[in-house]
């Protein structure tokens, strides 16, 4: 057994685990954070993607003890006071899921992509999500959701334009991007 400590979604844990324990199993079985699913169990599908020390990683290909002293964010740590992030909202609004199994990994990978590239093209989104497999939506709405979230995040970052008649910040949702989603859904 190996002692280690790690911070997950803002809470610090000290634990003693077998070195062979995978990070995804630590999250699910020890901490009860079942929002991160085990998908393929081979490192291919990306369903188990979480953030470790600022970078997206596949938690089935990391040992729990490798997160010693580190900071882990799972999909369950994204919302603040129950309020979804722009990405979570966009996945919901753009119907970017059917069964939802890939969704936590898709959102964590898309989050990583938007950190490096806040204004990606549909092609760049597809490349950025290369390591995440979805077997039902055909990716079309996922790309659309990431575009919508990127637009929304850029809108929030920009100085809020004031509405002429009320003087209050404009809080209308960003318009859905016209570049994606025109193709047939599969």
């Amino acid at each position: 057994m190996t002692r280690f400590s790690t911070t997950v979604d803002g809470t610090r844990y000290e634990d003693e685990v077998e070195p062979r324990l995978l990070l995804v199993h630590y999250l699910r079985d020890h901490l009860g954070l079942t929002g991160t699913p085990v998908g393929c169990d081979t490192g291919n599908c990306g369903a188990c993607t979480v953030e470790l020390d600022g970078d997206s990683v596949k938690s089935c290909s990391v040992l729990a003890v490798q997160a010693d002293g580190g900071e882990v964010t799972t999909v369950q740590g994204l919302a603040t006071d129950g309020e979804w992030t722009a990405l979570q909202t966009a996945f919901h609004e753009q119907h970017a899921l059917q069964c939802g199994y890939c969704t936590p990994g898709m959102i964590m990978a898309a989050r990583d992509l938007l950190k490096e590239n806040p204004d990606p093209t549909p092609e760049e989104i597809r490349r950025g999500l290369e390591g995440n497999l979805c077997r039902c939506t055909g990716y079309q709405n996922i790309v659309r959701a990431v575009l919508a979230a990127a637009a929304e995040e850029r809108r929030r970052e920009a100085p809020a334009p004031r509405s002429a008649d009320t003087g209050r910040p404009d809080t209308r949702p960003a318009p859905a991007p016209a570049t994606a989603g025109q193709e047939a859904r599969t």
Partner: protein, 287 residues
Amino acid sequence: MIPAAFDYVRPDTIDEAVRTLHDGGEDAKVLAGGQSLIPILRLRLAFPELLVDLGRIPELRGVREDPATGSLVIGAMTTHHDVIHDPLVRRHAGLLAAATETVADPAVRHRGTLGGSLSHADPAGDLPAVLLALDGEMVAAGPRGRRTVPAREFFVDYLRTALADDEVLVEIRVPRADGWGFHYEKFSRVAQGWAIVGVAALVRRVDGRIAEARIGLTNMGSTPLRARTTEAALAGAEAVPAAVASAADAAAEGTRPATDLSATPEYRAHLARVLTRRAVLAAAGTE
């Protein structure tokens, strides 16, 4: 699946890592980024009793220039992501950055390391052929000190390198390829798939001619290989499609590609010729 049980140590220094490996004998194994090793452990294709995690040895990370030779010195534990974004690598060894961008996917590239990928020596891995084309060198640390192994001697066989059980790959040295055109052409069936065949090309052009070309082949044998006949045919050739295609026809000479679920040896030889033509044309800027 769940890996078989093992002990785990995380040394702070290279010396400590070497000592631990030496004491552990053949049952000890180095854990670098873990993006090949952990899946292998999970599939129970390997049963090391001790993993020596190099993840917290600061001197194994980062890229610097050797003031004496001007070569790039890349720490073995530098992640693929950091290699891709490193300004020195991009400026002086663009082929390495370009090929690393084709490795797996962003999450894997955050963990996977250059040294781990080279030490694993998978014939389908992209970076061994790149280091071969760049005439790189590997620096290994062992109980008897350090030694430097040229890339052409480093890859010994399928998943086997010149590293002894108690040696750690600490640095990769890459001569600057300033002024060389480059391209990595990879063929795989699906996104994030392994290369069925890959071709790493470096081309030095003088006026309208190819003065020199270096070509590394991925997955055309149990180790990465150089396409020497094609390189010789390209030296002095005109940088035009017909001359490049004619030289590329020899790209599979001397190779021994394997049969697997993806391809027959004949198909791999065909791919080697086609991808070499494409890679050289792109590297020569005459696409």
